[in-house]
């Protein structure tokens, strides 16, 4: 394997649902000769897009699990991760962005900057990922790439610079004008594989000149050389312009904008040129690890392959040959047969099989240098583990994992299904940190938890197909919480004398609501009224009450407990006595603290043609939604609302029938809020039954 880190690009492709990112990836693989035929996303030809390798993905036309591949374009090597578009699978996007150096943000030239474009852009900002934009679907009715560029300014706060303008639009879309070289570019041949450059059509010359001026103006902010050339009225060479745009892109000051139609095979090759020219190589990106022996201080990593190895396992898959672990090398090189240390467990492993992935096919390799992404076999680990040289004590920063908001009870129909279900759940929860599972001891049901209806639906379906599990799935349940709303004091004595050594412990203090934290324990005991050795037992006792709240047995959250006084007995006090005292104190104060039930509130964004605006708003209103507003964007309208998750089950069907299938919606967790009192009473009644 050749190794030229400056000619390596690790990129992700992120976008709103149905913006065509899988189609774009398919075309990239075709033009880089990684595949030799183009297949449609929805698998009309019975094959499906190469990157959508899971059966379900091909059927539904959405990407569920991100797949990794690599390809070559003009001497450059591109590691490519196709990421899911649905909000429920955001963790896949987050994990991809953690290990990638840059991204292509795909925007639809009709839909523009849509709700999830904003979500993925926020994710890119969080990881400081430089990006270029590709405005896709210029051949569609209503295509308006210049409007999309304006929306990038307004909605994403980017400074977009158009490097191209379209030649014709909608059904007349023929090609693009390259504003750097000032040439018209057409894509001929059966699949657009022949790139033909011509002079700019006469009627577009003025517009192209004006747009190039704008481009130079904006790019000059990122390069002194270009600024001087402009001031001295020297000719601007394409190289000078490219360097200035590159400077701006790497520092996220600029977003270069490309355009085309992946479906019609137009503009993909120029986008690939842009990936090579403007996006960073791994050596241009600063990555830090945490030194676990020095209070997690940051250590800058060096992409030198001769340095000790630091790598991150970012995705797990259970395949036919055992667990497949996707890994990104940040420093040094992974060598087949080498010994590595898992920083989390301290366990040493010997690296057996090392491969590079191409969707569901793989290629064996002997080494993987810094900057590269590959996969290893047969290593027991979880997503997010760091593998280093045994002498190092470094850990890559932990990844943000949101808590699940919805759960579903599963009952297998027979013993065989029970066994297979356990296997499947074990695999899924290792692969996906947002998917969790536990056994409800009271009902003996298996509970699965996740980020949304679709998220759980897909896993149940995968269990059926991949593990032949026959299972009854209950109605989805909302993950309610309990919290308190006011301060309340406690002073509780636990005293028991039943022969032999007794139990004695007194705890006094208060509980009060807190924001944005699950639980805080504050020890304010002075003068040893509770001996120091019993303080941990007090905390343990309080914590044991949080799992099942006294109100409705939902987890308690947002609570601070402070203890400030107490008493002990030289013989009868023990850890157990203080744990029991803490539980008693908790119950004593809890009901006085006016507890309430909290429910997950989702931010719902519906994009609908204007004529259905009223109906859609009505449907959100009926679901206890608070409509934040409506945005008129010409022929479509974007409605933003906050709606309780409990009311959103089955909404996709309702929206489809309400809008003749013309509207789409996205939903993501926003916050927990108290349920209205009537509903709280209903929940109480249901629980009593």
């Amino acid at each position: 394997m050749k190794y030229h880190i400056e000619k390596l690009r690790n990129i992700g492709i992120s976008a709103h649902i149905d913006s065509g990112k899988t189609t774009l990836t398919e075309r990239i693989l075709y033009f880089t000769k990684k595949i030799h035929a183009i297949h449609d996303v929805k698998g009309k030809d019975g094959v499906g897009a190469t990157m959508d390798s899971m059966e379900l993905e091909k059927e539904r036309g959405i990407t569920i699990a991100s797949a990794a591949t690599y390809c070559h374009w003009k001497d450059y090597e591109i590691n490519l991760i196709d990421t899911p578009g649905h909000v429920d699978f955001t963790i896949e996007v987050e994990r991809s962005l953690r290990v990638l150096d840059s991204a292509v943000l795909v925007l639809c030239s009709v839909g523009g900057v849509q709700s999830q474009s904003i979500t993925v852009d926020n994710q890119m900002k969080r990881y400081k990922i430089p990006c270029i934009a590709f405005i896709n679907k210029c051949d569609r009715n209503g295509a308006n790439p210049l409007r999309v560029i304006q929306q990038m300014k307004e909605k994403l706060n980017h400074t977009p610079v158009a490097l191209q303008i379209p030649i014709g639009l909608e059904s007349n879309f023929e090609g693009i004008v390259d504003l750097i070289d000032m040439k018209a570019v057409y894509f001929d041949g059966k699949c657009g594989e022949i790139v033909r450059t011509e002079d700019i059509p006469e009627h577009m010359l003025e517009q192209a000149k004006a747009m190039r001026e704008q481009l130079i103006d904006t790019a000059s902010l990122c390069s002194d050389e270009l600024t001087n050339a402009v001031l001295e009225e020297q000719p601007i060479s394409p190289d000078m312009l490219i360097q200035a745009i590159r400077n701006g892109t790497l520092t996220r000051q600029l977003t270069p904008v490309f355009m085309g139609s992946a479906y019609k095979n137009k503009g993909v090759q120029t986008l690939l040129d842009g990936i090579n020219a403007f996006l960073p190589s791994p050596s241009e990106v600063q990555n830090y690890a945490l030194d676990t022996t020095d209070r997690e201080s940051q250590v800058l990593l060096d992409s030198d392959p001769e340095k000790p190895i630091v790598s991150l396992a970012f995705k797990l898959e259970d395949g036919q040959y055992g667990q497949l672990t996707y890994i990104r090398v940040y420093q040094g090189a992974l060598i087949k047969g080498a010994t590595l240390k898992n920083t989390r467990t301290g366990q040493k492993i010997k690296l057996g099989r090392l491969i590079r992935m191409h969707a569901d096919q793989m290629e064996d390799i002997t080494s993987l240098p810094a900057g590269y992404i590959g996969a290893i076999f047969g290593v027991d680990c979880v997503s997010g583990d760091t593998f280093t040289d045994p002498e190092l004590n470094l850990s890559m920063t932990s990844m943000y994992v949101p808590d699940p908001v919805i759960s579903l009870a599963l009952t297998p129909l027979d013993n065989k299904s029970q066994m297979n279900m356990m296997k499947a759940l074990n695999r899924f929860s290792k692969e996906d940190p947002t998917f969790r599972t536990h056994l409800d001891e009271e009902t003996n049901e298996t509970i699965i938890e996740g980020m949304g209806e679709l998220h759980l639906e897909i896993y149940v379906e995968r269990m059926r197909r991949e593990y032949k599990v026959e299972v009854n799935a209950d109605q989805p349940r909302v993950a309610y919480r309990e919290t308190i709303t006011r301060k309340s004091v406690f002073d509780y004595v636990h005293k028991k004398q039943t022969g032999g050594a007794g139990q004695y412990g007194r705890i006094a203090g208060y509980m009060e609501p807190i924001m944005d934290q699950e639980f805080v324990f504050d020890n304010r005991v002075t003068g040893g009224s509770i001996p120091t050795q019993y303080i941990p037992a007090c905390e343990k006792g309080f914590r044991s009450c949080l799992a099942k709240g006294p109100l409705l047995e939902y987890p308690v959250t947002g609570m601070k407990i402070a203890i400030n006084d107490g008493a002990s007995h030289s013989v009868d006090s023990s850890d157990m006595a203080f744990q029991a005292a803490a539980r008693g104190a908790f119950l004593q104060a809890y009901h006085k603290a006016e507890p309430v039930i909290l429910e997950p509130i989702m931010k719902v964004v519906v994009e609908t043609p204007n004529e259905f605006q009223g109906g859609v708003m009505g449907s959100l209103n009926q679901r206890r939604g608070i409509i934040l507003g409506a945005q008129d964007e010409g022929y479509i309208c974007v409605i933003e609302a906050q709606v309780p998750l409990a009311e959103m089950f089955g909404y996709s069907t309702v929206l489809r029938s309400l809008t003749q299938g013309k509207a789409i919606f996205t939903m993501e967790f926003s916050s927990y809020k108290p349920v209205p009192s009537q509903l709280a009473e209903l929940l109480l009644k249901q629980r009593k039954k």
Binding site: T485, I514, M515, G614, N621, Q631, E633, P674
Partner: protein, 239 residues
């Protein structure tokens, strides 16, 4: 709870109360200033007072997205509510949730904005019982003499439905002004407005001038200023 205090603490409250003794239900008010001086900030201060008193406020913007407008409200609300030290964080959040349920944002970002869209949109909301505003805020319209017809229609609608409307009017540094300090461009429509606040920047502070302010009884209007950095409105001399 704190609703009354929230409004009472606002120095704009008394002049606004006075204005509504003359125009109890419908009328036109405007905030007039150059770009970037704080028109939206003042409108959001006004809106928050109305919301705290339980009035339904419809905020229409021709320039900003819903998220951006919401951010204005959030920022100014937090600046103001944080001065109420007797409220804990949970009470502040529940107060914010309460205010949000009285507010509706509409944003018109398409290039083809028409005046009749305003009335159509409100009618739709009312017809479907989704939202019935008592206060309408319209931010970002470009005014000139030709705006009169649109304004007349809105005035008629606002009178019929008892809605008080606040507009923002953007002035430009280099345009021609009349003897009263209003842009000549809008003098043909100035009579349409019942109340007018002008904002005049000076160093880091913006002076709030009640340029046209009817009142039932003779009152002395306060000298106020707006600090764009802190978003606070205070009496002059106490920024």
């Amino acid at each position: 709870m704190s609703k009354t205090t929230f409004s009472q603490n606002d120095p704009l409250r008394n002049p606004i109360d006075e204005l509504h003794t003359v125009f109890p239900t419908s009328g036109f008010g405007t905030v007039l200033a150059r770009a970037g001086v704080g028109k939206t900030g003042i409108l959001v201060h006004l809106a928050l007072d109305y919301l705290a008193q339980g009035h339904h406020v419809l905020h229409m913007s021709l320039s900003d997205t819903i998220d951006k407008i919401n951010l204005w409200y959030k920022e100014i609300f937090h600046h103001r509510v944080n001065t109420l030290s007797y409220l804990n964080d949970i009470e502040k959040r529940s107060f914010w949730d309460h205010l949000q349920s009285y507010r509706f944002i509409m944003s018109f970002l398409a290039d083809d904005f028409r005046w009749d869209k305003i009335i159509d949109s409100i009618s739709d909301l009312k017809k479907q019982a989704i939202f019935s505003p008592k206060i309408l805020i319209i931010d970002g319209i470009q005014f000139d003499a030709s705006s009169r017809e649109g304004l007349v229609n809105i005035k008629k609608y606002a009178d019929e439905h008892q809605i008080f409307v606040w507009f923002s009017i953007r002035t430009h540094r280099h345009e021609e002004f009349n003897a009263n300090g209003y842009p000549v461009r809008i003098t043909p429509i100035l009579d349409m407005f019942d109340a007018c606040i002008t904002l005049k920047p000076e160093n880091d502070i913006v002076h709030i001038d009640f340029a046209k302010w009817p009142s039932a009884t003779p009152i002395i209007l306060p000298k106020l200023c707006f600090n764009p950095a802190t978003m606070f409105i205070s009496t002059s001399g106490n920024p």
